[in-house]
């Protein structure tokens, strides 16, 4: 979930005065009381409501009353994509309640709550007029600690949900990481919004280490990527693409990385108009490690609904990419470093755009000096995130172009962590720390028009400060735009919004005022 934002929550945590019609804000005599002096409401959580990765609205959960020692009254306010208040839901629950994520499937809204008192994760599904339709609960225990850590982490770089996703009008799915001692696993929960039905997919794998990530869904399938430590391969990590049919409740396929000519680590899936599934990811030689090695290039697989490979294409760093970028055989690009794939976007005319960001190690003057002084390893290098690269592929998934969008090379990771040898591990660390400058992509549902957004900081004679940048694909060409974030507000941040727009949050410290506004990108 994209909690509006961690830092933003600080702003919202300012006491909000409950205004009761025109009776508010009066009375100054010493012993006289006014309405605002006896009662306050607090904002507990806020976030976006998403549908198929698109921002559809926003939620604000207020603690509106204390009912008794254990119970609070909450008001869940729902704002539409234009920030209009469209629904207000009041309910009573434990005082330890927090709202984790929300999703929308067109006919219902789901909210995933964490209830510490009952130790449950409660999925509540509401009708559009605010009536509670179904509640699904599952115990919340030590096994889900990793999940809670995820929620406590600061950043989601696509501004969309982490664990709860709508499955096209049928309900919702959540992919939960589980941990039992050193054993790591996952479960996939399905929650119907049509009738009270819930089922859980629990993997029957032998492996004691499996991490799952939601990649996408089709009309009947939920597709996840699972990374497993394979015992048979002396603990080597292998990648698996798993398709679960949420109608038949069966696993339809599990494609292991090494089934084809190369190993592939899927990074993104999208459904094609013919019902097939397009999978994209890095590919490796069979003897390469998907953890340590950088890979040979980018592969595209077209799968049928049953998981059969219909079509495949490989673009190598050394051959294909080097025609457009100065790439070495190890995938490293001059001045840019290695590429991290953020997003794969397929347009209605079957072109494919892949959004990447560069990262590389650099000698850190401060780190070297410190190592010399204290004589201990303190990170002689630092990792910087470099330029944004957008690559274009034709309908046969062969690269046809690449454009570099230069930006300031900002330090993403410093200290000992930057001395990792594995490029993948580095990328994972940068992502986990929110070090990439890429923010999110918004656009039309069919991707005929989309906008890639990223943050930057500038130091020029005209402007010094943070900027919010966008690269928009118009259907025929790319255009760029920039918002200078240095305003008369004490702080300002930009969040994803409906296609073509962003939400700008400005905090005015002196006036104790938060201003939220939607602005269209240029």
């Amino acid at each position: 979930m994209d909690h509006l934002p961690r830092r933003g929550q600080f702003f919202f945590s300012l006491i909000l005065i409950f205004l009761a019609s025109f009776f508010a804000k009066q009375a100054t005599a010493q012993d006289k009381l006014s309405f605002d002096k006896v009662y306050t409401v607090y904002l507990r959580n806020s976030g976006t409501i998403t549908q198929q990765g698109q921002i559809k609205g926003y939620f604000f959960l207020y603690q509106s009353d204390k009912v008794d020692k254990h119970t609070n009254e909450y008001t869940l306010q729902i704002l539409d994509e234009n920030l209009n208040k469209v629904s207000s839901i009041k309910f009573e629950d434990s005082k330890t309640l927090s709202l984790l994520e929300s999703a929308y499937d067109g006919s219902s809204i789901s909210f995933l709550f964490k209830n510490v008192e009952s130790n449950t994760l409660d999925m509540k599904i509401y009708t559009l007029d605010g009536k509670l339709k179904f509640t699904y609960s599952r115990p919340f225990d030590k096994q889900t600690e990793d999940l809670m850590k995820q929620y406590a982490a600061m950043h989601t770089d696509q501004g969309t949900n982490k664990n709860v996703f709508d499955i096209r009008g049928s309900g919702y799915v959540s992919v939960l990481p589980l941990r039992d001692g050193s054993q790591r696993s996952y479960e996939v929960d399905f929650y119907s919004s049509q009738s009270k039905k819930q089922w859980t997919y629990t993997p029957m794998d032998e492996e004691k280490y499996a991490l799952a990530e939601y990649l996408g869904s089709t009309d009947s399938l939920v597709i996840i990527e699972v990374m497993k430590k394979n015992r048979a391969l002396s603990g080597q990590v292998t990648s698996h693409l798993v398709g679960l049919n949420f109608i038949t409740r069966k696993k339809v396929f599990e494609i292991e990385e090494g089934r084809e000519q190369y190993k592939i680590v899927p990074a993104n899936v999208s459904s094609l108009p013919n019902g097939n599934i397009l999978v994209m990811g890095s590919y490796y030689d069979k003897n390469e490690s998907i953890v340590k090695d950088y890979g040979l290039g980018i592969a595209m697989y077209e799968l049928s609904g049953s998981g059969k490979v219909i079509n495949k294409s490989y673009n190598s760093w050394e051959g294909d990419f080097s025609r457009f970028l100065h790439t070495g055989s190890n995938g490293k690009i001059d001045d840019i470093g290695y590429l991290y794939v953020h997003r794969m976007i397929r347009t209605p005319d079957n072109n494919l755009f892949v959004v990447c960001e560069g990262y590389k190690k650099q000698a850190s003057a401060g780190g070297i000096a410190l190592s010399v002084l204290v004589g201990a390893p303190s990170g002689a290098t630092k990792v910087v995130v470099t330029d944004l690269v957008i690559m274009q592929f034709d309908p046969q998934y062969k690269i046809t172009g690449a454009t570099i969008y230069p930006k300031t090379h900002n330090t993403a990771v410093g200290g000992a962590a930057s001395d990792y040898n594995s490029q993948h591990a580095l990328a994972a660390v940068i992502k986990a720390l929110g070090g990439f400058d890429y923010e999110f992509t918004t656009g039309e549902p069919d991707n005929s028009n989309f906008t890639i957004c990223y943050k930057n900081s500038e130091k020029t004679s005209d402007y010094k400060g943070k900027t919010f940048n966008s690269i928009r694909y118009t259907g025929t060409k790319f255009t760029t735009d920039k918002i200078e974030l240095k305003t008369n507000a004490s702080d300002s941040r930009v969040f994803p919004a409906k296609p073509g727009s962003v939400m700008i949050l400005e905090f005015f410290k002196k006036e104790k005022k938060v201003d939220l506004r939607l602005e269209k990108l240029g």
């Binding site: 009662y39 539409d80 234009n82 209009n84 067109g106 602005e519």
Partner: protein
Amino acid sequence: MICTPRLLLIRIAAVLSVCIPVCLFAQQPVFSPEPQDSLKLARLLALYEQQYKSDIELLPSQYRKDIEEAYKLRWNNIREKFDDKEIYTDSAAQNYLNRLIAEIRRVNPDLPLGFTCYFSRTPVPNAEYIGEGIILFNMGLFTRLNNEGEVIFILCHEISHYVLRHSEHRIEQYVATLNSKETQEALRSIKKSEYQKGQQLESLTKGLTFNSRRHSRDHESQADSMAVELMRHTSYRVSNAMSALALLDTIDNDPLNMSVHLPDVFNSPEFPFKKRWISYDQGLLGGHAVLKKEATADSLKTHPDCQKRIALLTTLTKSWSQPAARNFLADSIQFLSLQNRFRYETIEYCYQSKNFTRSLFLTLELLAIHSDDPWLVTETGLVFNGMYNAQKKHALSKVADLPGPYFTENYNLVLQFIQNLYLDEMISINYYFMKKHDPQLNFYKPFHTTFETTQQLFKN
């Protein structure tokens, strides 16, 4: 003055040909906004400020500070109307309004002298007594009325609010309620409570709000009753009170279908209108949802239902006889002339107030009748240029409303249209719209200048 239908038609024709000043295009007059008299506004504001200060001096000692605070809020609202140049200063329009007031005074000689009525330039169909003896008659309401008789009823209604001191009573009642022993005790008890503070406060405020709104509805009924009494001896038909209320009941209905009109206006062979521009998500979160009315909504209304008001006045006036009463008396030609002018003035006011989407909406409404009107075409170009520049600076939200469930369907569609446009589409639509009118309207300098700007933005 008796006005037969034929004579009225002749007069309308006469009005349309002479009432709007200067600049001729194919024998049609082109609108030119009346310049606002800043000196007059400043003079009036100073006068009212003096009056406000005198009123403050005379406030009772009990709860004085609270009452003063409420008066200050009311005064700030008045000041804004002057600062924003909302008060229309055109002397011809003011004289017309004064003539109507004079007719009311003629038959009601006991009416106090301390009130004045002004036209407000807003398109909101409303009239309001705003305090300090100021009654505002919004152009947006004037343009919807059928005759002077309806204007007279609305003026009498607002004069009644002034005479019956409803605004002042409301302030006093509010301050007294807040300071009452019962309210203070209730608030103390809530403050001491550890639990259910919100629920207790909600039930307290609900009771007080219901009470306040009921008083407000009573005030409206009182003002209606007094209005027909004031109107009774004028030469205007009292039945106009009922027709005015019936009109208010349906005032939010837009007859124009924007889903047809927008493509009509903005389609061009070089840049065909796209369906996507007016498409929207029909669900709860798309900005066009029809929200369910809350159970308590009727109790929270500030005004009684128009149908109830009509029924009340019909009973009250049933036995009244006005054989010589008319719909028009002062000047039917000027009535129509002002209605015509005000339709344009509200567009200009919205544009000047930087409410570009409202300005565009009103312009589009008029373009449905006068598709080649040079001023309207130019205004459309200006608004689009303005929105383009605002969007480029990421400040469109400061000049454009966002779609919301509280707007009318047609206005919402115009707002959605603007939201759906990318920057290049916005300027292309404007460019091809202006280009369609290019050879014909080139004689009109503002069009020429605006189109030049559009061309520059389009090329960039």
